[in-house]
């Protein structure tokens, strides 16, 4: 039994454009094996992935859209030869051709390329907060009659330009509400768009929900907003010709209502009679604190 494994030099697998990708190829084998060459290939592409459960426009396009190639680089590390038994380590490499009788040994490792913020987004991360203001009058969808007549007011502010490693911060105050509040949540949304011919196809997915108020909280008490960004589901905001990745953050207030119990499974960002919401664009950039992490 032979295995091959790539070990990158950094445990967080984050490299910058100017830096070499370093690591080891570890081949473990009980006996010696003959090969026709060892190749290391680096692939970078933008793929449209369809996750189970999502349906609609994107699914129908799945076959149509080819992955957009960003980078492909292959390098032969060793010409044909023999590898002794035991553990052998090579600096950098992978893909071991072993002739038609044997399956090639291969391993894939995902790594992250992070560019300095100056390369991608010129604007610095601003500490400025966006003020929001949610009342019965700011809602474009129909509301419960008692909510419409009694009224409510939730105000707050939030940082909408964030670095990936920093949390979204802000605060929120329930100033008034005629109907008791059931919950206040911060939804993080990702919008991926692809140019297909003349049309722009986009998909929005809810990637994280963070509750900031559970129940009918005291009025005029400031509640903090503190949302840590999920690393595997976020990336810097990208607007790059054929495709774009953008983010939004949405404050959703749900009011106590018998009706809501009937729709437990529904998408929390869909406007409903008992919901009030405010959605703000969110611009994510690479970390500015990286320097202190990688020494």
């Amino acid at each position: 039994m032979s295995t091959v494994e790539i070990k990158l030099s950094r445990s967080n697998r984050i490299y910058r454009p100017s830096e070499p990708l370093q690591g080891k190829i570890v081949i473990k084998s009980s006996s010696s094996i003959f090969h026709y060459g060892i190749h290391l290939t680096v692939n970078g592409s933008a793929n449209l992935q369809v996750r189970g459960g999502s349906a609609g426009v994107v699914e129908s396009l799945y076959g149509v859209i080819k992955p957009i190639k960003i980078l492909k680089k292959s390098q032969e590390i060793r010409t044909s030869g023999r590898i002794g038994s035991g553990t052998t380590e090579y600096l950098v490499t992978v893909d071991i051709m072993r002739g038609y009788l044997h399956k090639s040994l291969s391993a894939t490792v995902e790594f992250i390329v992070e560019t300095d913020k100056a390369d991608l987004l010129e604007r610095p991360v601003s500490p400025e907060m966006v003020v929001f203001y949610i009342t019965q009058d700011t809602q474009r969808h129909p509301l419960l009659p008692e909510l419409k007549s009694g009224g409510f007011k939730v105000t707050g502010k939030m940082s909408t330009q964030c670095s990936l490693l920093d949390p979204i911060t802000g605060e929120l105050t329930v100033e008034a509400s005629s109907v008791p509040i059931h919950s206040i949540d911060i939804h993080l949304l990702r919008m991926e768009s692809i140019l297909l011919g003349e049309k722009i196809i986009s998909e929005t997915s809810l990637i994280q929900t963070t509750q900031v108020a559970d129940g009918d909280v005291c009025r005029n008490m400031t509640l903090p907003i503190y949302v840590i960004l999920p690393r595997l589901l976020t990336c810097p905001t990208v607007l790059a010709g054929p495709f774009s990745v953008e983010f939004k953050v949405s404050v959703v207030i749900s009011f106590r209502s018998e009706l809501s119990k009937l729709h437990k499974k529904s998408d929390p960002t869909t406007p409903r009679l008992w919901l009030a919401m405010e959605t703000l664009p969110l611009e994510l950039s690479v970390c500015t604190r990286r320097q202190q992490f990688i020494v």
Binding site: V212, D214, V217, C218, M221, L223, Y226, I228, P230, F293
Partner: protein, 921 residues
Amino acid sequence: MEFRPRNYIAEEESHALPRSRADDHPLFAPSTSSNHHKVDVVDHESHDFFDPLRSPAANAVALNKDVEDGESSSTVSSEAAAEVSVKEWTTFKRFLMQKFPVSKMVSVSLMPDVIIKTGKANVKDSTTKHLKELDDPANFAEEDVKVITGQEYVSRLHELKDEIKRAWTAEDRVTSLKLSIKVARLLMDTSVLQFYPTLFVLVAEIMDMLGNLVWERIKQKAEFGEDGSRLCYLSENFKEINICVEAKETCNNWFCKVGSVRELLPRIYLELAILPCWRFLNDRPANSLQRLVLMTRGLADPLASVYCRLYMAHCARKLPSCDTGHLITSINDIKILLTRVLSTKEAAHGKSVDNRRLLVSLMEPTIEYIMKCIFKDASQRQVGTVLMELGLGRNQVELFGSNPCVSVVLHHLLKELPTEIVGSYAVEILHLIEYSNDKSYDQCLNYRLLGFRLCERRPTLDILNAAVDRIIQVVTLLDELDDFLKVVDPYVDIILQNQMDNHLNTILEGISERACKKEIVDNDVVGLQSILMKILSHFKDLEDVFALGHFLEILDVMYGSSRISIDMQILNMATRNGCINDPTTVQLLFEICQALHDGIDFVNSKGDDYQAARLISRFVLMVDYGAEMERHLTFLVECRGAFGSINELKETLVHSSNHLATKALKDGRKHLSFVKSCIAFSEVTIPSISDHIRQLNLYIETSEVALLAGLISHSDGLVDSAISCLQSVDLINGSLTPVDVDGMVTSIQKLCSLLVIVPGNPELGFTHTLKSILSLITSQSWITSKIKIRISCAIVSLSATLSQNKLPYNADLEILSNDLLFYGDSSYVQELLSFSEHVLQNLVEIIEQEPSGAARGSMALEACNCIAASFKINHNIQPVCSKLIETAKSNLSTNDAYLQSTIKVLDKHLPTSGISASTTI
């Protein structure tokens, strides 16, 4: 056979020890002579000797020293502090669980999947499916309430804890985290009310466990490389800079994972669980607390919110240094929550008053704990800042402004405030209590607490006066006795110690007014007991207490065990200072005894009641009417009527009446009829005493008194009663203990000594009484052969004594005793002799029949000594003695000291050849 003639006066002189005058009384405290001290030192030297009185004291001194050391050194190591906080937390958790025990059933509005397992989960699935079909919202809501036994819930949580631990050890940390999140989620359901504190404790334990596991893992990563080599050693106060990238990365991952939890409550709990891990990422881990405490505001449920804050206070103590900012924010937020809970609008929301009270009581421990944390090691200046931040103080001088405080919060604040602050600001605090009056806590209890705090360390007299004046004004407005007592109780101490007599009167008057207005209940009685007890222990003289206005009135309204305690305390005081002479006091005490007697079931008395019986008896014994002896006897008669069920007391009554009789006799013969009354009283009282030995002794005692008064026929009657009392022992007592038997024999011997001076009755025969006693030997089953010998010997000795020309002692010169009545009467001596011979024969037979050799030997020696002392050893007696000595020799060792000395005695009395010589071969 012939009795040995005795000259008692000469014998006494020859046997008396030489006497010399002592300079010091041996029991007085030793003067400063060095001798005594030397003895002490020797005691100290011997280490193996355990002195139970001395050694704990020595330990206590050492302990005190420790405590002092701890206090003086301001810098206690953080490790020790952590230990203390762990211990305090454990105690607090136990207190929580005990205060709110798990009720049988817990109804949970949304039964979480983690709690329902296997079979039950299936049931739930099917019902929800069914309900979905029906699609009826009303029904759905109803069915959601599930009931589970509290014990099941608890054991399921313990299982979960094990599961989490197991997953962790199996390197499956994701499962550990997922399960922990589920567990934390359980605390979102506050519908369980009573059960919530227990649930909290169990969940907090699981969170703490997870926190420790994460901490250890990251610490391990920081200290050791992947290959197991040691990278560094983290000291107790390590810095973020010492932590390697890998460890930081892992740590950061944990915070990211925890941060991605959707619901607010489990997210806060989990971050708190791993709060100490912030230390791996930055040097100001306490900063997170400020954010977390604000996040907690998002929990609208008051119960969930305060317990979350409690967990926060607990977790914050795990950080090396921490200011109290977040705790104060917590308390301020809790105040807002409480105000909301208490507002009438919320009450209309369907929360009943009872439910609200329960809610506040469930919230209270969290306030208590957080308050304790705030004031832990707070300096006076810090206290000022805290009070300002809590919205009470205006500045460092005016620590208590005019803003009211939620009363339950105020209560725990008052509990923790340093004594100096309480002392200097007593009046201000009093005002604060006055306008902090809401339904969260009984205002009276806050007044009361202030009183107790003031007792800890007395403030200056002017502050004290002002405070007490104000309290008196406050209490006069209280209508309920219960409230009145609650407030007044601690202030009574202050009033007594500062001689504020007018206030004491006001208080007693206030109590009596309220107590008489309507019937008092158990609670009031306990309050009254506390106050009366304080008054009693303050005054030295009972008369002073009785002189206090309303004291007796208040005593009268009391009942039950509290009344008994007070009565006993009064009697204790009354009987500790010698005789009680004052007739009014006697009358009052008599009434108190009656109340005490009525309150206790003496017939079935056990334990504590014995103490009451003893006190009443002691009181009766201490009463002294002086020259009014008739009055005293009447008093005894009254006592017998009133306390008839106390056995011990009847004995006291007999002693007292006998004492009265002897006292009267000292005055000469003029009180003879009074003496007769006394004796009659005793004679009538004795038979009602259940214990036979006591009866016997009292008969003998009374008989002695009668003889002293020259009342021979009374005396005879009493002796007869004593003997018949002995005869009935068998009928009543099935089994006697060896101690009882011993006492009985001693009493019989005493009776024999009394008979020496009782004049013989020629009509019945001189030996009539002796025969009655002798007959006991055969009739009573409890009399063993050994006792038979002792009684027989006593009778032989008595006969020998009666035969003397001059008796060793006399009752009274006016009574003619046997030596004068029958001087030279040969028939008298003859009767005694023949009776003795008969006894002697029996004696020898009894010894011969004794199966045990050793017993036979010692019995023989006892008999032999008696014979040698009573008879002239002549040819009649000598064979008997020789035979007895032989018996002894064959059964005892020749070295036996008793045997040796007996032989010596015999030798001395033997006129001619020695017994030992004649018997040696």
